[in-house]
Symmetry: C2
Subunit: 111 residues, 2 copies
């Protein structure tokens, strides 16, 4: 049927929610990029392309909402770990307020 429309819509819904999800995941825990993708896939069924995540993380760094540090591994490729900055925590709390409102509004409309 209208497969493409729904598929496309899902992609559009991700715009914005992805940022929100990433920041929330980093709230309690440091993660490296690849791990973020895995964690979110496991816990939420949301698939994030690598080509989506890494540019997103760089935007968040430019905005100074997250910082990153390279961590060498005993074996394997070094990993870039991300964590929230103070500004990131503050911004996230504003986003949480908006989301809660939005979610309530939508719930009211769907009912």
């Amino acid at each position: 049927m209208n497969e493409t429309f729904v598929t496309n819509w899902k992609s559009q819904v991700k715009k914005g929610t992805l940022t929100f999800i990433i920041l929330n995941v980093l709230k309690n825990h440091e993660y490296y990029g690849y791990e973020l993708i895995e964690q979110i896939r496991k816990h939420t069924e949301i698939e994030i392309a690598e080509g989506t995540l890494y540019p997103l993380m760089n935007r968040l760094k430019t905005e100074e909402l997250v910082t990153s540090k390279w961590v060498e591994q005993e074996t394997g490729i070094p990993r870039k770990y991300y964590s929230l900055t103070e500004a990131g925590i503050e911004t996230l709390s504003q986003m949480n307020i908006y989301w809660e409102n939005l979610e309530k509004s939508i719930k009211k409309i769907i009912q």
Copy 2:
């Protein structure tokens, strides 16, 4: 602080959610464009620019998820009323399933 980031983020969150909201609002009731903006503003605090809504409605018409009909007024400018098509109802039900999942996932992450 990072005003622009949050503002911008809100705009991104609307991508997708707006379509979803509009279709859900039209599920139980016919509305004309201007009325949709007002209804949603009153009931949800979500602001929709006219330059956002009308192109969106045209997309939904092109996708054949909604139909429209002009209704002449005794006084004032004619109104274009929108209603869901069968395909629109079907598509919306798929979207509702995805949204419910997403919402649960995000709730789990935020907790």
